[in-house]
């Protein structure tokens, strides 16, 4: 799946596990955002990290994509440990195997949408220019932006920027895709279309998706499994309060925050 060098791969790591997180923590200064976060993501599943605003969802994602080393704990992605001494070498190997869509799309403002999607193809593949353009147009077509290929990021809406960001993340058909708030701020039809696209790509390409979101409809539509983070999981820090099938969590969880989240209820006054 990856062009892994022998120096960074974990010997005996199961191919069915795309991500393994053990006891991850993140501190900024004296403030602990979360601690003891442990979970695993199976290959080919859509895994959602959910929780209220400010609970550290995006921070967990930044750790998984290697932008932020965790303060404590271990993380392995596609069989490569991205914590500890092998971090830099592992990340170098992994860069082509993961695609990331940032919350705002993070498109390069000086390039058209087509050029944005073509950029990784140009950097990492031997495709000729017409091949790069054809592949990039297919990716833009997948997210419904074929007719916007020549537009600049400044000329498109926020929803279009997100979709273009997904197209760029998919440019190299990576086996692992991270999407940060893909449907936030989108209309229900576009949002449902994105959900459909994620499931289709999972089914057709066998790609693994890690999605950070708090859009309930989206979570229930796409997630095979999820974890829920909460700012008050521990007396002194945030952390993980639930893990599993979101539909089961909705119906069976007895944790007040999990129940409130899935039922769209306000927590009682004075609750953490």
């Amino acid at each position: 799946m990856t062009d892994a060098g022998p120096t960074t791969a974990i010997p005996g790591a199961p191919a069915t596990t795309a991500i393994q997180v053990t006891g991850a923590a993140q501190r900024f200064g004296r403030r602990t955002i979360y601690r003891d976060v442990s979970f695993s993501v199976a290959t080919g599943e859509v895994f959602v990290i959910l929780g209220g605003s400010g609970c550290g969802k995006s921070t967990v994602m930044r750790q998984l994509i290697g932008l932020l080393p965790p303060t404590a704990g271990e993380i392995a992605v596609l069989g490569h440990r991205i914590t500890g001494p092998a971090r830099v070498a592992s990340l170098r190997v992994l860069r082509r195997s993961i695609g990331v869509m940032f919350q705002s799309g993070a498109l390069f403002g000086s390039m058209t949408l087509l050029e944005n999607v073509m950029l990784p193809l140009e950097m990492f593949t031997p495709l000729p220019p017409e091949g790069r353009e054809a592949v990039a147009r297919v990716k833009l077509g997948l997210v419904g932006l074929a007719d916007a290929a020549g537009l600049m990021p400044a000329e498109i809406s926020g929803g279009m920027a997100k979709r273009a960001g997904i197209a760029r993340a998919m440019a190299l058909d990576p086996p692992l895709l991270f999407l940060d708030e893909p449907s936030a701020g989108l209309d229900p039809i576009t949002s449902a279309g994105l959900d459909r696209l994620i499931l289709d790509l999972r089914d057709d390409l066998g790609a693994t998706f890690v999605v950070v979101t708090h859009e309930l409809a989206s979570i229930l539509a796409i997630a095979d499994r999820c974890i829920m983070l909460d700012r008050a999981a521990w007396p002194d820090a945030g952390g993980m309060i639930a893990e599993g099938d979101p539909r089961k969590l909705r119906d069976e969880s007895t944790h007040p925050t999990v129940r409130a989240f899935f039922r769209r209820e306000a927590l009682p006054v004075g609750a953490p």
Binding site: D3, G109, S110, L121, F124, T125, P126, L127, P128, E130, G131, A134, V135, R137, V138, K139, L140, G141, L142, A146, D147, A149, G150, M152, P153, A154, E155, M170, A171, L172, D173, D200, D203, D204, L205
Partner: protein
């Protein structure tokens, strides 16, 4: 790693051209066989993709097959396709069928450029009108001109620029004196270097160099600050709150620049005279003689004319910087363009104004 190499074999079976693929048809593999595939597909009367040897195919591979079909102009027959390939190929076909919007016909370049230039001029005039209107309405909008902002901008444009102004002024005086002393010495007129440098500095170089520093440091900062506010919709927020952006954002910067520029020009003059005195003293002239020479050569009108010019240059640089910020387009690149426009516009307008002042002072006999 061997199956990562994509391979293509072309075979003719009657009217059908059979393209036999093997290995991985991902972005890397598709890149290796892209051109041979399209070359083989072009002009074929019928296409068959034999995919029995393909171990992996993703969207890039599907895009290659769709591109080959598009070149041939028909739909290929799939022989032993891997699981999910048909679904991927359907997506790639659908995406490649979507016709992009035709690009708008390019406007006649000289005409478009002329229209653009006229637009810039008319926008500039409109901005001057808005600025004048904001000045007139200032007494009833006093609350919008916040003293704290004014002081902050004065600090940013003036106090923080002072070390640079002093250094530049001292070096300019030093260089001017040194360069002019050598030829003038041949005529025994090296004492008059003090006259030359004093008049040059007070009348021209003091305000001009201060304005260039202001344009580079402060004009660009004004443009970037206001441009970022524009990109972040903060200007729109001010407008919707009923607050005039020109009064709120432009006037304090303009007033601050007009206040600090004469002071900066004066500081540059003094530092330059000190630099000149250093060279003259090294050539053996006592400081008293140099001071006397400066006093006899430079008049009050030279000094105050220069300071007045500084005030006008400050207004021009600040107004152009703020105008560039307010006309910022969308996206982070636009902020950079605005900052560049502010520096270029500030320097050009300063030199144009200086030319006008030279003409005016000549007519007035100053």
């Amino acid at each position: 790693m061997t199956d990562a190499v994509a391979r293509l074999a072309v075979e003719q079976r009657g009217p059908q051209t059979v393209l036999r693929f093997a290995g991985r048809l991902d972005a890397e593999g598709a890149g290796l066989v892209w051109r041979p595939t399209l070359r083989a597909a072009r002009g074929a009367s019928g296409l068959t993709f034999d995919l029995g040897g393909v171990v992996h195919c993703d969207m890039a591979g599907a895009a290659l097959l769709a591109a080959a079909e598009a070149v041939q102009g028909g739909t290929a027959t799939l022989d032993s396709p891997p699981a999910q390939l048909e679904s991927l190929l359907d997506r790639a076909r659908a995406a490649s069928r979507q016709v992009p919007h035709a690009a708008p016909p390019p406007a006649a370049a000289p005409l478009a450029r002329l229209r653009g230039a006229l637009g810039v001029v008319s926008d500039g005039i409109a901005f001057l009108g808005e600025l004048a209107f904001a000045w007139v309405r200032l007494p009833v909008r006093r609350k919008m001109l916040r003293p704290a902002d004014l002081l902050r901008y004065a600090d940013q444009a003036g106090v923080r620029a002072l070390p640079l102004v002093l250094l530049l002024g001292y070096l300019m005086g030093l260089i001017l004196a040194f360069q002019s002393a050598i030829p003038m010495r041949r005529f025994g007129a090296d004492l008059f270097v003090a006259n030359l440098v004093a008049i040059s500095l007070l009348r021209e170089l003091g305000p001009l160099l201060s304005a260039v520093i202001l344009a580079g440091r402060t004009g660009s900062a004004f443009a970037a600050e206001i441009g970022t506010m524009k990109v972040n919709e903060e200007i729109d927020a001010l407008t919707t709150m009923g607050l005039d952006p020109v009064t709120m954002l432009v006037l304090p910067r303009l007033i601050a620049a007009m206040l600090v520029m004469p002071a900066l020009a004066l500081a540059l003059d003094l530092a330059g005279l000190l630099g000149m005195a250093t060279v003259m003293n090294a050539f053996g002239f006592p400081l008293v003689t140099i001071a006397h020479q400066v006093q006899s050569a430079a008049t009050a009108s030279d000094l105050f004319g220069g300071l007045f010019k500084g005030l006008c240059f400050g207004a021009a640089v600040a107004a152009i910087g703020c105008r560039a910020g307010l006309s910022t387009g969308v996206g982070p690149r636009a902020v950079g363009l605005s900052a560049t426009a502010a520096v270029v516009g500030g320097i050009v307008s300063t030199i144009l104004l200086d030319g006008l002042f030279a003409l005016m002072f000549y007519r007035l006999g100053l």
